[in-house]
Chain length 332, copies 2
Amino acid sequence: MKKNVTLNDIAQKLNVSVGLVSLVLRGKWKENRISEEMAKKVNKAAKDLGYKPNAMAQALRTGKSKIIGLIVADIANPFYGKIARIIENEAYNKGYQVIFGSSDEDLCKFEKVVEAMKSRQVDGLLVVPVIGSHEVLQAIQESNIPTISIDRYLTDAKLPYVVTDNYKGSYDIGLYLQQKGYQNIAFITKESPLSNFIERNKGFEQSMKDTGINYQKHALSVDNWNEELVQLIRDMDTSKVDAIYFAQNMLAVEGLKTVNALHSDELDKLAIISFDNPEIFEINRPTITCYQQPLQVLAEKAVQELINSIESKQSKDISLKIEGKLIIRQSC
Amino acid sequence: MKKNVTLNDIAQKLNVSVGLVSLVLRGKWKENRISEEMAKKVNKAAKDLGYKPNAMAQALRTGKSKIIGLIVADIANPFYGKIARIIENEAYNKGYQVIFGSSDEDLCKFEKVVEAMKSRQVDGLLVVPVIGSHEVLQAIQESNIPTISIDRYLTDAKLPYVVTDNYKGSYDIGLYLQQKGYQNIAFITKESPLSNFIERNKGFEQSMKDTGINYQKHALSVDNWNEELVQLIRDMDTSKVDAIYFAQNMLAVEGLKTVNALHSDELDKLAIISFDNPEIFEINRPTITCYQQPLQVLAEKAVQELINSIESKQSKDISLKIEGKLIIRQSC
DNA sequence: TTGTAAGCGTTATCAA
DNA sequence: TTGATAACGCTTACAA
């Protein structure tokens, strides 16, 4: 039962004041004209006693917790897991810690998590906004906690965001399909008011228009897409389709599951392409061609922007759309 | 730029003392004989002003941060992502928040994360220990931060743990292989000093002994398993093997990648079974039979045990080994 | 060059 | 039934 070492302990041991110790330990001894000799003594004592600053006390005093909150849809989803990983790294490097929560795409949970984080005095927030969350997010902004949307953004909230260029990505997929000579595309997507789907849908439809390719759009409902998808693939008229485009990893994964389970020669002949790049795509037979989101850049930029606006208090409303890249494999 | 509402704000508005407000807001007004009328007024004012307690101040004052630290190998790995998700839920339900870090199986990083968490005054720690971390973990124990190992444990540290019964799982896989009539198993595992591999290896070897099945053990090195695995599968003498057992999801995933890429009729004839149950197993052709770890129970128990020992200060050294279950699919 | 003291928002102990 | 006040560990403006 070792008690934590405090500034006071160090001060007492050396018979100096806590203020002095504090200044030295934060490297401010030079500008406060503290003798180098003193500085050395203090540093040594701190090391000897194994001093670790109490982050809570620092936070309380300075009003900066050095914690950033991360709210994703579901940390168990590898897509968000990867993002979380990069964010964590970047944040640690800058002296911040990450506290996370999953929203499950549920507004109510999202709000709860936001509240919890606010009361933890997070310095800033990185959020994957859920449907209907604009009010909550607006409120955070007003309480002066820098917040950045990642992965998607809400058109009705004026939050800065860092996202993939979904429009371009989806448009490029269309172009690629044209280049490969496909004529009839089954476009499987979701009917969602969230920016990522809106833009993927727009982008693809535009490129279909521009290239003149036939396509059928299947916009599944957000909360029942799973069953609808299975049905859709079961009923697919393979004589009228030569390629399937899944607009999201979850769609593709469930889709492949169904396709593989059906073992139908007809289905197997179809070309497949998808947004996102889950690990399965490298294992499936055939391996799946896809548009990979620039997760590394995206997450890094998001953290950098966030920390910038935390530390400089000037919320320059910079939003970014970053391009991903097509990864060509066997399926298409 | 709204400032946060404090107890003081409420107190001033009502012309009462902060102490009074504090007591009411924490539901202690009854045992402190505060008038119900007063209590109501205070609660109302708190709600009106939108009061949110400052967790930092509470933490500083009470010495309890209500934060638990979670250290996994890599949050981007869906296996740990899933665990994190369950832990998060369970913790939130009990009023705790989760701060996480990834060790990358690197002792140095592990130690850094631990330090960061200690200085955040975490109330407790859930860790996936890395090789060589017994000293750090011992040190945490001594500084009186309840800590529980999950997923695996170190034989040379006396930390409580909550893990899958790896021995039993691996043993049962052997039994299942016997039942299905396989005669020559390629057992692909890692040569690791960590409990999970030790026990999976022991369990399987024992069951091979008990059943009298032939097997060849390929214990890959911890830091170069990837390349060794590819080589191993490439060179596999399929005439001498009728089934492969992968002792871990990462091994299986890379293994399947290689097998699928080789497209060899010989390899395709082999039965496959694996420890763990990543999503790919449901998509692969054939779908993969495996032993699924009881993640839900495991993570829940871990959180419960941890919070118990945080709140009751009595560190009853309860460790748990929980059984998973065999999921039978097409591959075996 | 160093010490003193106020204060961050709470909680808890007394006193009134 | 309620109010004053010290304390948690730290930072910082000001005094010495």
